[in-house]
Symmetry: C2
Subunit: 352 residues, 2 copies
DNA sequence: CAGTAGATTGAAAGCGCTTACAATTTCATG
DNA sequence: CATGAAATTGTAAGCGCTTTCAATCTACTG
């Protein structure tokens, strides 16, 4: 009973409507719209006019199904509530919107099963490629990704096989410099709040910390190396613990990321110590809040927005040329001096 | 020359692979997978086993194209870099992941053309519905949305025709209470930093402020009502301006949102005034940073996460039953007392 | 002017899925 | 045991697009 819907269904303008209006075949219209070269200028113009007139917008699922480009990429993030992901996303979004692509967001909320499941659905979705921010369980899907030849780029995570494209910052170097900075201020008892150690960056930062200490001839003190998880609560608990249980207490705390540092600042204040006079604090990342808290947080800047940008660009390249060899891009970090660090007043020659 | 790809193309497991493995028709498999009722238990089991065994994941574009559900909704946000959107998104994400839906993110970055363009593409995309956070140019696409019968829900924005589903907070009431709170602390010269006035919430908050002042018998002072834009910079400039140019200066500042309040705090500190002893500050929203800044910001809490949650649920209802009448859901705000407000020390009987 | 390479366009076959519609099976009833 | 309704499954027609292949057209060349 139902007629061919095209004729009287006003709700959806399809490519064949455009074709009819322009007096051309849908094949030609498709070619114009997907930027095929061998179309005459006159034809192109006719098509564009029809598109304009009808307000045609391509149907993405159809396009994607037919093997065309969906101009959509996926972004897998661990969470959304802190500025870290937001700032990276800003960079991604900038390039995507410049080249007219969409973003599908997947938040794993740190659940392994979700991360794995998402990646599987992503490969079967509209998405042409995938950006992963600090993924934690890559081994559960890396093979599949590669088997499908599905383009992806890691942000702030690497994996042992070194066979993926990665955008990251100089975690080791940044941590090293931060630690040395504290040493140069005279600090000898510098606590370190670790990040989530299943993340590469966290391990690198720990390495940087220990290396700097060694280079400064400061013996490593295990009870100053504290567990953390890159979360505010973890930073809070770590700082609280070290303040209550280690004697003499540290004169400085280096937190693996800003979010932990904020937690540490809370704990320090709760403990009645003033920042930076009685204890120095330094973070890592330079999320937007870092310059918003009071006192403003001294930290190691990762060029987050830039990382997002470069990752997006790298992914687009990989989408265009799946063969191009994976590359690791490491961006420089930068020590940002603000108000949470001060020279150490205690002049003690340190014992273990 | 090319064979039916199914047989030897390992890259993609399709529904027909599942059908073959299960020894059923693809129609039956489809029915099982899309939750159709009239399938025997045995069949369902056979299908699920095949799915499991093959690691099948439905191809979203195909499903969507064929008229099925894509289980994907769109989210249009003005920006990403502050906790406001992030927190709402958290709520959205919670319900979406519970019911197994995906999120496509569109950031307009406050550009009218982008907002309009996105909504148009969204309607032709994989998305089944759309959530809009504080949209600003609804008139450019509202008719189209309705003509397509495309489900959508506004978050924190209303529109004149009252014909859309909206989730919002009690902006008027919240602003009223915040202002009264300051009055009760003895403040008489309360500056107000406005939000972006093309957003409904900003107008409501202004209304609340003036109403409270009137109810407290405090004459409105135009030079204490300052332009703002919901951004930190705007708050900073507004506060700086009022501090430099209005005499006597205000003893309290009510910023239309927390982000502006942070800017105001900066300006105040730069001006050499201490918070809250010399000047009180109050914000609106209670974004995560509010309890992170120092001193912790007294503010009016919008239940952001809950708003996201409810909006997502409302949208899902509308997707299921497009006929259901639009509803406006207004959630209560709550005054959160923290550390940026104090009694007014000056005892002056106010003139204009 | 026939012949040909190259440019441009059209016809038609899917992409993987949903869903009328039709066919088959099941099973309680008469 | 025939019968019909209900339950279950299969067949096949698209959804709107890209792309291969073939057809047509154009402009030269000899």
């Amino acid at each position: 009973m139902s007629e061919r819907t095209n004729s009287n269904n006003k709700l959806r303008v399809t490519i064949s409507d455009v074709a009819r209006t322009a007096g051309l075949s849908i094949a030609t219209v498709s070619r114009v719209l997907s930027g095929y070269e061998f179309v005459s200028e006159a034809t192109r113009k006719r098509v564009m006019e029809a598109v304009e007139q009808l307000g045609y917008v391509a149907n993405l699922p159809a396009r994607r199904l037919a093997g065309g480009r969906s101009r959509t990429i996926g972004l897998l993030v661990p969470n959304l509530d802190n500025g870290y992901v937001g700032t990276i996303t800003l960079g991604i979004d900038k390039v995507l919107s410049r080249i007219n692509c969409d973003l599908v967001l997947y938040a794993s909320h740190h659940q392994p099963s979700k991360e794995t499941y998402y990646v599987h659905t992503i490969v079967n979705g509209i998405t042409e490629g995938l950006l992963l921010i600090a993924p934690q369980y890559t081994n559960t899907y890396l093979d599949m990704l590669r088997a499908h030849d599905f383009p992806y780029v890691f942000i702030d995570q690497s994996e042992p096989t070194e066979n993926s494209s990665i955008v990251e910052a100089e975690n080791y170097q940044g941590a090293y410099e931060a630690t040395r900075y504290l040493c140069n201020l005279g600090h000898r008892r510098i606590a370190f709040i670790m990040g989530a150690l299943n993340v590469q960056s966290a391990r690198e930062r720990l390495r940087g910390y220990t290396a700097a200490l060694i280079d400064c001839n400061i013996p490593l003190q295990q009870n100053l190396i504290l567990e953390g998880n890159y979360q505010q609560q973890g930073g809070y608990e770590a700082a609280k613990h070290v303040l209550n249980n280690v004697d003499p207490p540290p004169t400085a705390i280096f937190a693996s990321n800003d979010i932990s540092a904020f937690g540490a600042m809370d704990a320090v204040r709760e403990h009645g110590l003033s920042i930076p006079d009685q204890i120095s604090i330094i973070g890592f990342d330079d999320v937007p809040q870092a310059s918003l808290v009071y006192p403003k947080l001294t930290t190691v800047r990762q060029p987050l927005e830039q990382m997002g940008q470069i990752a997006a660009e790298t992914l687009m390249e990989r989408i265009k040329d799946k063969g191009c060899p994976p590359q690791r891009i490491t961006l420089a970090t930068q020590l940002i001096l603000r108000d949470t660090c001060a020279p150490c007043l205690l002049h003690d020659s340190e014992g273990s």
